[in-house]
Amino acid sequence: MNPVAVAAACATLICASPALAVFAFALSGEAPSFGGALLRDGAIGTFSLIAAGGGGAIMLGAAAAWLVSLCRFPGRAVFEWLLVVPLAAPSYVLAYAYASLTWAGGAIDFPVAGFWGAAFIYAVGLYPYVYLAARAAFASQSVCALEAARTLGAKPWALFRRVALPLARPGIVAGGALALMEIAADYGAAQHFGLTTLSTAVFRAWYAHGEPVAALQIASVLLLAALVFLVIERRARGRAAYAGGSTRWRPLPRYDLPPLAQAAAVIFCVALVTFGAFLPLAWLARLALLYGGLGDVAQPLINSLLLAGTGAVVTLVLAAAIAASARRGKMIGKAALFAAAMGYAAPGAVIALGALSLFGLAREVGWIGGLGGALALCALIWAYAARFASAGAGPIDAGLARLSNSLDASARTLGAGPLKRLMRVDMPIAGPSLAAGALILFVEILKELPATLILRPFDFDTLSVIAYSYASDERLLQAAAPSLLIFLAGLAPILVLSHGITRARAGARAGAAATA
């Protein structure tokens, strides 16, 4: 039995079951009368937000990645890692921070509100997903293709548009898909800005109408939409093969930008990190100082870090199994990739609800008892895996997509089995992508709120839980400190791994593996 296929099958079962439970329970009830209008308005809202906020995030992220990877301008090396920073700030924290900073009578009298406010926050908060994936893609591009284009006289823009961009497309698409699904799943920011999206419609059916089954029905539509989106994306990518041109790895050639363009590049990068992180966080820091004292955050901080660490490792392993299997063209792997994507597009509370329903079934059968202590923690890790496997699998899959088919074929010819090929060929080459996946998972789980809120054990609070508790009680001053800590706790791993991706470019190990 092929161990990769078995691992992939297990990973799929773990990651897809809560989403499948959502479908099953959605079918168990009748559609309510209020559902139609909610669904229609929600779909329009989600689609518009994805177009505006997601489009913005993709353009900002791809442009930023190209600037720092292929151009030379003052501060480039600093921006290269600084641009990742907004990834550490959850959308709901950004929304609250901007709302208290920019209302009509506030410190900045230009309200970030309504549809465009939300789109703005998604664009500046989520572009790092695209930036990271695109930068990893640029960083592992063959120098030869770029140099050939330059020799042929290509200007920076043409080089970007006609060579670098197409080569980086799998990365940009994978990162962009993450950003879009983040938007589709977001509840906190959209609800705060008073928008009707599929996500807010889910909670409206659940909270206002008291109909959790109707909520799952709306959630199913969201999941199906994610599925369709992913299928279209796959088909568009088609069977295009990204065979590397060369096994020589050298530093990337960078363009010297003209002075005016240099200034523009600097302003662009400064604006991104300011709006995406420093401005709202400086405001939160001010609020925290006004309140004085951190409150009781030591234990929640430890809980957050342990959960995020454990969750990231478990999810990364599952994601790697799924991605590797999908890469080998196994049906189960492809199906798993789709299933995982559904989890990512669903609000965390919906996945938790799916997990809870399965838990209820297992209890009725008598397999397990109450959801306390260790069992609750396991349920929580399970929900994280179901929710975020796609965030890990996406980048890994994109990394593997650059693996030349001939390399895999050579390894086969040399008698390497599936497991050996995975460990000795795929994983070393996908190294930078694997690091990106780990980074994203750790920070995602650190920021995660709804599933943690529903499934955690007694007396077990995380930073996001206490930030939410204060914010939902409308005590923004007290919520400021834990919100800042979520950001700071996520910052260190982000910067370390961000640095690692850049260094991986040197290609000592990847190069050796490629020539082996």
């Binding site: 009578g105 008073g194 397990i368 923690l377 007694f458 939410y468």
Partner: protein, 345 residues
């Protein structure tokens, strides 16, 4: 080689989980497990005081009432939770309606909680009261123009009202009480009238509505009374300035009275430590807890004899509406439908 940091992290995580699991089962001492939709530091203080006086330690899990309900439902008879706390009668009613609470009637509870502020069967008992008040901008509105909730629908206030989303349960309960008193048609006409006066689509929290009124985006809104008091007593000078620009009205003092809601608690249907849960419930309505709670969260004590916090007392006495609490739950679905119909999301 690539995986060594991950492996270390995994070991660390696994040992931490084992640790956490141990701490869950540690302390064979008396405990009581609480699911609470109130995430206030004040409640933490109450639990600590309870622990001190009884030796029973309180383990809490906070979350939204709707989510805690689903968790209780999934856990069924295996649940570890003994007591559920919610910040709204509508959610308490839903818990009872789903069969997740058991009726608990004791002499202490009956003498401590006034008749209108608990479930007649004893499924849930109120321990604080909150009033749904009107907030208006002082330089734009005369208080008598907004003496009643009815006035919020007056044409006088076209484009001058801001409101919170009706996904929020406080909003649902406000309309549910109107349905109870005046019927569905009246409630629908009122909601449509207020909707027509919106200065903007519903967004933000109760506090955000007060800020919008103070900043001149609108002239009036509705919120729970303690949000106003919090701004008044905030550490942030900008908040205190906001509070100075607005005034507070207890509506319908010449009519049906101001809409009042409760925070309350009930013993879970499958409580494993029922006696401890009842003791905590009785403690929440005791003189000691009520006196402790009053200054912490600016809510009204459950009994009139207990003095409210000074800032709250300064608002003066008011007359509360007199409807059965269960009506807030029974009319909730209808209220949600009406909000949907008139386009007030």
């Amino acid at each position: 080689m690539t995986f060594s940091p991950s492996r270390r992290a995994f070991t660390l995580g696994a040992s931490a989980m084992a640790l956490a699991a141990c701490s869950q089962d540690a302390g064979a001492n008396e405990v009581v497990n609480v699911y609470s939709a109130r995430h206030y530091d004040s409640d933490r203080r109450l639990y600590e005081a309870f622990e001190e006086s009884t030796g029973i330690s309180v383990r809490a899990l906070t979350g939204s009432a709707e989510q805690l309900l689903e968790r209780l439902r999934a856990e069924g008879e295996a649940t570890e939770a003994d007591l559920v706390v919610a910040a709204d009668a509508g959610n308490l009613w839903r818990l009872k309606d789903a069969g997740l609470l058991q009726n608990t009637v004791t002499p202490t509870l009956e003498t401590s909680v006034p008749a209108g502020l608990h479930d007649p069967d004893g499924a849930y008992w109120g321990f604080t009261r909150r009033a749904r008040v009107i907030i208006y901008r002082r330089d734009a509105v005369q208080p008598e123009e907004l003496a009643s909730y009815d006035n919020l629908a007056d044409a006088r206030f076209r484009n001058q009202i801001v409101m919170r989303s009706s996904t929020n349960v406080y909003q649902l309960s406000t309309l549910a009480s109107r349905i109870e008193r005046l019927g569905v048609e009246n409630a629908r006409a009122w909601a449509a009238g207020v909707r027509a006066n919106f200065a903007r689509d519903p967004q933000g929290s109760d506090t955000d509505q007060i800020r919008a009124v103070a900043a001149g985006e609108a002239q009036a809104t509705v919120c729970n009374h303690y949000y106003y008091l919090r701004l008044q007593q905030s550490d942030d000078p900008a908040d205190r300035e906001t509070a100075e620009k607005v005034g507070l009205i207890f509506p319908d003092q010449n009519g049906a009275g101001t809409h009042v809601n409760i925070s309350g608690a009930g013993v879970t249907a499958h409580a494993k430590r029922r006696d401890n849960a009842v003791r905590l419930l009785e403690y929440l309505v005791s003189d000691e807890a009520q006196t402790l709670l009053a200054p912490l969260n600016d809510e009204f004590p459950i009994r009139p004899e207990i003095a409210p916090a000074p800032a709250l007392a300064a608002l003066g006495a008011f007359r509360a509406e007199d409807i059965p609490l269960s009506a807030l739950g029974e009319n909730q679905a209808e209220a949600a439908r009406i909000f949907e119909e008139v386009g007030w999301r």
